[in-house]
Structure formats: structure tokens, C-alpha cells
Subunit: 467 residues, 3 copies
């Protein structure tokens, strides 16, 4: 009854010592660094009572926890269930999709708390963390989940941990350049998360190009129920994206507005995705790959501008366009990238994150450049773009220019970083699978017997003994 | 290996030009109408800083966003994952269940923002939207998802989009009559959402009656894992129903109370559902159809009264009764409706939404009529029923009468509206499937190879070549 | 085509009269008791307007609903989807896992509202309930879900309802002893929920020991998709655990801190689980059982201390250790407990809840004993441990001693209570399945035809007629 699987004899995928070593080493490093650096910020520290008196706060409800915790939990679900299940569409890679995503994200959030902490929350020699840091750590890891989508099924868990270590580091540097040096707005991360994460992943998968991948082509598709599992991921990403884009916006109207804009953009995106999915097929049937992915492009593309006065109809237009761009990308661009540019993009992140991310950066730059005191109100204008201190004299058009510069920087950082990390991952140390074993859980996981071999067929002695 | 499926030759189900056309046309219409009409309300607009000063608000936490956003997200999950997955119980219609629900809801919320906006949020020529509008749009679409349950598996996506357009319109008119003209309370929508949506859907499916539906009877059941997918939908509906019924209640005690009442009613409902599911079966075994559906009837039935002083034990009683009514309905009424009245109700919405919705309307009327200043407190009494302005002199018993009138109006609107829309959907334009192709994803979706035909059986050359 | 299943002839598993009787009897009892005792508390009652004026509250946002409702909903998801789906890993017990969990939890929360209400919210002859009571009821039921994990697949639904009745009662007594008599802190329930629930369940399963359980060994494993369903449960438990541990903490910094500590502990736990899962296997492959369960041990183990100043690195250390302890437990301890001590622990709750629960109690005792005014601030110190009134003079080290006493009390209550309830469940009244029918939905559920027998194979006349 045992199903003979082609064990990757050509490659050593034995994880027994390497994977535990990497996991334990890195976790010990986290503990040491957290011990030296990480403490609670004022709102999570038991001294908060004194802080409240100092700041003259009359109620505990003013604690940032109550402004952001619900959004944090939504974002948390997007990272672990959203991305994890979105990638379970492969027929025999569900364990790897959801399990490796779990592993890399659990490590990544710790490292992100440190990296982002050093850049943004470092006070008196300590990183002071609160709920906003947790959200930002999840965001940072989101960019790794995106890159994971490009190399899904073709790497070992160790490679993923190595990639996470480097990508989180580079993400934080890029984020620092954009937010602090260029003073760019990017609350939902069109540039820092999506553009950066996607081009990073695409370069990595280009460098890890496998000429013989058609050997595992039969495993690169879905089955009926794996497509339904993937829809769980899709829907959670889609439903909670308004929380994603508003999670770290300013309290009050900005959070409120970001949620509404994202809601609108996503709704429009579903209709154009359905339209083009049907239109681009000879038989006119809908393709689950498009529904699972392109419907989300609208959320990516308002990542920069959602907290601005993009307006609901502006959001609809952005969503409208991105559903089309993304679906067309799946039909025409993904095959082209694979055959001509040797970019093997398992989940099609180029269509879901790279192009919509760029569009999102551009929309953000235009929306910022078009801002006026009339539209935002005198105080709202200053608050929306944080035109205070050094930036007091910055005009909208200058801000737009810096926003555009942010796109370019993110892109360059992604390309350079991806090349570096891709080269590291190509070293023959990390136990990646042979081409014929890609997209197959059996290499790294204990996989249970198939359904039909025992539970379903135990009544049929003829069949049970036939092979 | 290809499985020969009966392609609907008798009917033209080719979607390639019709579906894209409808999707794009309607989305363009949305963009134009949003451009002309929709703007942010004061709490989502960048002028909020000025608004705050005017209203003398000291904290951003007073923004309605923080009162309602968590509930909104729960409602959002109910619409897309709750309804979507609840309907995946059919063995070969999972894509259609979750995908078409996604499509119609994404369109519906846009159109609902407009329709409800014109009736309720129209100021100075513009519809001003905030988080409460998003919740109401989701509510409105909920009634379409309910109607979808009756015709599940028997319609084309175009028919669903046409139905959504009309149903959202009629829903908004009905809602306006109830809430504004009759001044009726219905925060959780027993009347506006459930009674209206269910009877609307039942009339539509009656008009679309298919005499030869037994041709696809083999596909009208579930398989083991499709029942588990459906339980995801059930549980999310069940868990988040307290948010549903409290989402648009008054700030403070009303929201708090609505959540508690709903929680209690739902808990009681589970026990009577289990009891009657076992009792009504010769073998005494539990039936997944009942567990998936009748356990939710308790939430429907306190939709009107949850925010009133129904009290926890009152809620238990309502839930107790509705679990019984709904389960008995599945066992006896659904077959009767199909054989005698030619109402083919795929999901049994008559048992889950129609009857409990009516009960909910009646419970609401009684609870309102029984209200006293003693129970509510002087101010609480006025606030609970909004007995201000023109309605200053309305007494509880009069309010109860108007509540009862609301049930009748909803019912009549549903019957008339359903008849109209059913007639429109019967036109031979929309590409609906032939009777033998109902409940089959293959007509409108690219469906992957079956699990057993490749991944699972590739080791078995005999079987692979046998057919 | 009918698959011959071994109906439990040896045992009478016929539920038709017994299950409905128990369900209806108990629900009627709930209604009567709720009618006599349960009312809304001040924040959910329509008199809240007057309460607000009395307490000089300026805003509805001060209602406890807004502090706790988002956390409540997360906890609610953990109980129903988290525990329910975690247990769907068995190949043919998915209906029972998710359905019986639904049943016992829906009954349990009602009984818990009463039991906990009498102990903690009893004023003027009435139990006054608000959102915190709902959370506590969910918590209490959580301990029953844990115990259910040990006996999963081996009991009838009636036995589960009987167990729930007794366990909720004993839980409430134990909780009262700890929180009120010993004045112990245990916001996330390491002692009251996990230690108590797990040892209770282990004693019950010991008493219900089945010597011939290997007769159903073939059904005690998972299949590919059932492992993915279980991962839904795992991830929701993992993601929402920060809400669980912070849900009933004091407003402000304590809730904030509890969430951060739990987030950190859980992240570390994933890495050591993965490390040891691979390390303890000859082939070095990861085992889904570990990933599904041991990754959660970090949340259990900071249940007592999360709201204290455990600090992020302290949390990492706790998570680090518990991932190891739990995984090692699955590999070595579970087989030992079964073969030597005759403890048949289906889900391995000893590894996920019992040991981490004890560790959590100990960590809490140490953290409390180590508390200083310097670390907590003068006011924070008093607030964190509620050193007021009678407890004004209690020192941290004394508190640590009481915390340790709480562990012992919980353990003894669990052992004694489990023995009592196990003996009751052993009575031949409750319709439990025969050994060869364990882990099989078919005994208590209408199970649909297998997938392959109709939908998938209808094209293959040879195979369809073969048996």
C-alpha cells in the first residue's frame, strides 16, 4: 500500500540536525537580544498609572491598546491564516504552505521587533514596545510571506529562515530610509511591504531558477478541496485588508478613512477580476487562481493613499484598474516571465503584489501631490502629512516627489537585496529539494496515508491488495 | 482519465461576453455615481480636527470608528466567510458557493452604500459615509446572501448580479419605510434582513421552478469534507452573531445588551437543535444539515429585540423555540414545500431565515409593547425607542403595533419584489444551467482534475488506465 | 455501494430518546434558573444613562463593552473554531470533533454564567451579567474543551453533557477558592483553566480506560486534508491567545502587557517546536501533530504571568522551554502514559495543557514573588496584585506562596473531580461506543456517502459496481 515517492536522492534534504540547529541558534539569539534591549513602552508598563497622571489622561481607554488592538488582531490573522492558507492551493504542499509560513513568520516577528525597534523605538538604550510595534512586526513579516509566495514549494525550511533573517533586516533599513529620511507616507505599505517584498522575492526565485521544474509539473496544480482551503486565505486577506491599511494610521479620521477607502477599492477589484477572468478564457469560465489572488490587488494598490483623501470613488477607480492589471498579469505575464526571464513565480506575486504595489506607490505620490488645505482643512493638512518641524515648509508637490523617490528606493533595495540573498540561498548548504521533489510535502513532513488507501477503502479487499 | 461531464448543450451557459459586460458596466456605473454623490462623513474626513473642536470632543476615541469598527469586521466576516462557506456543503458546488457569494456581495455593498445613502445619509447633495454605512451595506447584502441560499446551484452568476441589483434597491425602500416612516426598531434585521431576504428568495425560486431537478439529485448532497467546510461558515455566523445584532445599536448599554441577548439565544438554540435532530430520525443520529443551519435560528429571532430589555432568560426562551421550529422545518416542511408548492429551497432558508425572522419580528413587537419606564428608566426608555420629536407621544403599545406593521410590510415587499425579480430572471438571457447541470461547478468554473485521478493514484498504473 | 461498518452491536449507542431528553431537560433548567437569577449588570441595562450620571462618566466609550468586546470575540472564536477544528485531525471524527465541541460549549457557557455568577456577580439576589461574564463563561468552557481532548472519539454526546455539567461546577468552585480565598492572580488561567482542565480530563480518560482500543487504531490517525482542517484550529488558537490572556486583565497597561507577553511567548514556542519535532525523528521530518499542538504551549505557560511584568524576554524564555517540553512529551510521554499508566489521551492534552499549565503556575508564582515596587511603580504594584483591603499587607513573597498553593489546589480538585466524574461516566447508561467503533462519526451522525463512491467515480461503471 505504501506509495513509492521519489525521495530526493540527488540532493540531501535530510533536516534532522540542520533545521533544529538553525531554529535553536536563532531563538537563543532572540532571547539574548531581547534580554539586552527590549522593554515595555509607557502604555504597557506597570508605571502607566504615573504616566497617566503626567499626561493628564482621565481614562484607561486612552491607552493606545484600545485604538489599535482590534486592527492588530486582524493583521495577525492575515499574516498567519491569510497568507498561510492562500498558499495551500497546491495539491500536495498544504503542510509546507501553512507550516513554513507559520515558522518563518514566528521567527520574523521577533527579529522585526528588534530591527524596527532599533530604528524607531530606541530610547535610553532600550527598545520600548507596545501594540504598534506588534503591528509593524507583522507588517514586516508580511513582506517575507509575499516573497515566500514566489519560491513556494522549491525551498527548504532552512532557506526560508535564512531568507527571513536577511529580508527583515533589509526591510527595516528600507523602511527607515522611506519613513524617516525621505519622510514618506506609506501606512499600508504599498512601497515598503508590497513593492519591496515582491521584487525581492522575484529576484530570489530568478537566481534559484530550476531548468528542470517541469519534472514536478503534475504537482504544481490544485485539487478541488485545496482550492477551497486557499479561498479561506483569500477571504481573510480581503475582509481584513481595511484593518491592514488603517492599523497604524493616526488616531481618529485617518484610521476611519483608510478603512473606508480600502473597503471600496477591494469591492471594485472583485468585479473587474471576475470580468477579465471570464473574458480571457476561450470557454469563458472563471479561474480560481484569479479569484484567489487578483481580487486582493485593490487592497495593495491603496496601501499608500488609503489614509489620504483619496475619496471613495478614487478608491473604486484604483480597484477597478488593479483587478484588470492583476488578472491580465496571471494570464499573459506569468508565462512570459517564466519562459523568457526564467522567473518561476509559484503564486504569481508579480501580479498580486509587485504591479499593484508600484501602482499603489504612484497613486500615493499623485494623491499627496494633489493635496490642498481646502480638501484637508488647515490642521488636517498638517496632520495628514506630518508637515511639522523640519518638514514644516514642505509642499504637496514636493511631498509627491519624495513619495515617487520612495518607490524607486524600495525597488532598488529589493533588487539588490534579492540578488544578495538569492546568491546566499544558492549555496549547497541548505537542503533544498531536487526538481522532481518540488511542491511535495513528503520531503520535509511526515505525511499521513492517503485518504483512499485506508479509511475509505477498507471495505474493499480486492482494491486494497491490487497494487 | 477525463471525466465526461454533461455539458449543458440544451442551454447556452457560455459566459465569456455576457458576464464581463455586466460586471464592467455595473462597476463603471458605481464609479460614476460614487464620483457624483459619495464623500466621507465628518468623522472620516480630514476636517475632523475642526469637527472635534466644534463638538468639544477631547479625544479621538470618541470617533464612531472605535465604537463600531470591531463589530463591522465581525459582520464583514459573516457575509463573506459565514454565508460563503455555509453554502459549500454541496459536494461539487464549493467554488460557486463561495465565489458567487463573493461576487454578489462585492457588488451589492457598493450599490447598497448608494441606495441606503440616498435614504439615510444624504446631506447637501452628497452621501456622507462612515463606518456605520459600511455595516449597513453589509447588512443589506446579507439579505441577498440569504436569497442566494434558496437558488444556490441553479442560477448563473449574471442572474445573481441582476438579482442583487434589484434586491438591494427593494431592500433599501423597505428599510426606509420601516425605519423612517413607521419608526420601527430593527437593529439586527429580523424583519428588514431575514424576513425580507428569505421570502424574497423563496418567491424567486418558486418562479424559477425546475420540474426536472431530480436529474441532478446525486449532486445535491454533501461529502464528508464539504460538510466540514460548511461548519466553518456555520461557526463564524454563530460566533459573530452577537456583533451582528449589536453593530448599529446605540452606543453604550444598547450595544452591550444586544450582544448578551444574542449570545444567550444562540446558546439555547444549539441544544434544542441537537435534541430534535436526533429525535426526528429513526436511527436517532444527528444530521449535519440541522447543526449547520438550525443552530443559527436563535440569532435571527432576536434580531429585532436584542437591543431591548428582552433579558437573558427571554433570549433563552426564544432560542429554545427557534431551534425546534427550524429543525422541524428541515425535516417536514422543506420536502412539503418542494413537492406541494414547488418551492425548491436548496439551503432551507425557509427554516433558517423566514420562520425565525417572522418570530423575531413578533418577539420584537411584543417586547416593545411590554416596555415600561420602570424597566428602562426614564431616559433609557426614551433613548431605547427614540421617542423624541414627532414620536414623543408614542406609547409602547402603539410602538408594538407599528412593529407588527413592519413585519407585514416586509413580507409584502418581499413577495411582490420576489415575483418581479423572479420574472426578470426567468427571461432566457442570463445563461442559467440546464437541470442536469445544476449544483455543478464545472459549468461556470475551471475545475481542477479530481484528487484521485492524479496526485493520489499516480502510483497505480492499473487503475490509472482502467477507465 | 453501502460501506459495511461495524455497528456497535455489543453496546447500545442508540441516542434517539436519551440525547433529546438530556438536552431538553438541561435547557429547561437553564431557562428556569436564568429566569430566577440572571439580569443585566449596570453597563448593559437600560438604566445605564442614570448610572453614567452617578459615576460622572462623560462618554459611552467608558462602558466596559468597549474595553473587552474585541477580546471576547477572539476568545469566542478560540472556543468554538479553535478547539473545535483543532480536534478535526482524526480522519473519520470531524463531525464529532466540531459538533460535540459545539454542543458541550453551548451548554457549558450557560451553566457557567450561573455558577460563576453565584460566586462572583451575585448582588441583591440576582446575578448581574455583562461582557466580562461572557468571557469568563467561555474560559470555563475552555477547560471542558481541554478535557474533551483526552476522551475525544471514545464517548457519547450524553457523556459529554454530563461531564460538562459536573466540570463547570467544579471549575467554578476551584476558581472561587483560588481567586477569592487564596487571592491568587490567574488572568489567563494557567491554573484554573489548563492545569485543572487537563488533569481532570486525564483522570476521566484513565477511569474510562479501554483495553481493546487498538481495534480502532486504523481510525486514530489523520488524513491529508483533516490535518489542514486541524491547522485552522491551531492557528486561531495561536493568533488569538494574546486576547485570551489579556481579556479579563485590568483596563489599560495590564491588558496591553498581557497581550505583548503572550505574543512573544508563542513566537518563541514555534521555533523550538519545529526544532524538536525534526530532531526527535529518525528521518528528521516535521510531524503535524507537534506543529498543531506544541506551538500553543507557550500561550498556556504565560497564562498566569502574562499580565505581570514578565517582560518580553522572560516570555521568550518560557515559550522556548515549553515548545521543547511539549514536543518531547508527544514523542516519549504519551506512549508511556498509555502503555504503563493506561491513560489514553487522544489529543495529547498532557503535553499541551497539563505540563505547560503547571509550568505556567510556577512561572506565575515566581514572577509574583519577584515583584518589586521599583519594577511596577508604587501604584502599579498595588494595582497589579490588588494589594488592597484585607490584602494590603501581603508581600510579594507571600503572594508567590499563595500562587503556588493555587497550583496544588487546582491539581487536587482536578484529580478528585476527575475521579468522581469518571466513575459517573462509567455507568452503563450513556450510550458510549464499543472499542471497535471509537473515532468513528458513523455511530452518532448521519454521514454522507464517501467522496469517491459517487461524485468522483460516477464515470466509472466498472468500479462503481465492483463491491
Amino acid at each position: 500500500m505504501e506509495r513509492p515517492r521519489h525521495q530526493g536522492m540527488a540532493k540531501n534534504t535530510y533536516m534532522r540536525w540542520r533545521l533544529p540547529l538553525v531554529c535553536l541558534l536563532w531563538e537563543v539569539a532572540m532571547i539574548v537580544l531581547f534580554g539586552v534591549f527590549v522593554r515595555f513602552d509607557a502604555e504597557a508598563d506597570a508605571h502607566w498609572e504615573e504616566e497617566k497622571q503626567e499626561k493628564n489622561l482621565t481614562s484607561d481607554i486612552e491607552n493606545d491598546f484600545y485604538f489599535r488592538y482590534p486592527s492588530f488582531q486582524d493583521v495577525h490573522v492575515m499574516i498567519f491564516v491569510g497568507f498561510g492558507f492562500l498558499m495551500t492551493f497546491l495539491k500536495r504542499y498544504g503542510f509546507g504552505a501553512v507550516g513554513f509560513n507559520f515558522l518563518l513568520a514566528a521567527f520574523g516577528i521577533q527579529w522585526a521587533l528588534l530591527m524596527q525597534g532599533w530604528f524607531h523605538s530606541f530610547k535610553g538604550g532600550k527598545i520600548l514596545i507596545g501594540v504598534e510595534n506588534l503591528i509593524n512586526a507583522d507588517f514586516c513579516v508580511g513582506s517575507v510571506c509575499i516573497a515566500f509566495g514566489a519560491i513556494l514549494g522549491k525551498t527548504s525550511p532552512i532557506q526560508l529562515l535564512v531568507m527571513t533573517l536577511f529580508q527583515v533586516t533589509l526591510f527595516s533599513v528600507n523602511e527607515y530610509i522611506l519613513l524617516n529620511l525621505l519622510h514618506v507616507k506609506d501606512a499600508g505599505g504599498s512601497m515598503t511591504i508590497h513593492t519591496f517584498g515582491a521584487y525581492f522575492g522575484l529576484v530570489v526565485t530568478r537566481i534559484l531558477y530550476r531548468p528542470n521544474l517541469e519534472q514536478s509539473k503534475d504537482k504544481q496544480g490544485s485539487v478541488y478541496h485545496s482550492d477551497l482551503f486557499a479561498m479561506i486565505g483569500t477571504l481573510y486577506l480581503w475582509m481584513y485588508w481595511p484593518s491592514f491599511n488603517s492599523a497604524i494610521s493616526e488616531h481618529g479620521d485617518a484610521q476611519h478613512r483608510a478603512a473606508i477607502n480600502t473597503y471600496c477599492s477591494l469591492a471594485a477589484c472583485v468585479l473587474t477580476t471576475m470580468a477579465f477572468s471570464s473574458m480571457l478564457q476561450k470557454k469563458g469560465k472563471l479561474d480560481m487562481v484569479h479569484i484567489q489572488n487578483a481580487t486582493l490587488a485593490g487592497g495593495v494598490a491603496v496601501g499608500t493613499s488609503a489614509e489620504m483623501m483619496l475619496t471613495p470613488y478614487g478608491s473604486l477607480i484604483v480597484g477597478f484598474i488593479c483587478g484588470i492589471v492583476s488578472t491580465v498579469g496571471y494570464v499573459y505575464l506569468t508565462p512570459f516571465l517564466e519562459s523568457r526571464l526564467h522567473i518561476q513565480d509559484t503564486c504569481g506575486i508579480h501580479n498580486l503584489h509587485a504591479m499593484p504595489g508600484l501602482i499603489g506607490g504612484i497613486v500615493g505620490a499623485i494623491t499627496a501631490a494633489a493635496a490642498t488645505e481646502d480638501v484637508y482643512g488647515k490642521e488636517g493638512f498638517i496632520k495628514a502629512f506630518d508637515f511639522t518641524g523640519t518638514y514644516q515648509t514642505r509642499t504637496p508637490s514636493v511631498q509627491g516627489g519624495f513619495q515617487a523617490a520612495g518607490i524607486v528606493v524600495s525597488l532598488l533595495m529589493a533588487l539588490a537585496g534579492g540578488a544578495l540573498v538569492g546568491a546566499i540561498l544558492k549555496l549547497p548548504l541548505w537542503g533544498d529539494p531536487a526538481a522532481e521533489n518540488c511542491f511535495e510535502d513528503d520531503i520535509y513532513w511526515e505525511v499521513p496515508e492517503d485518504e483512499e488507501s485506508d479509511a475509505y477503502h477498507m471495505h474493499n479487499p480486492d482494491k486494497a491488495s491490487s497494487p
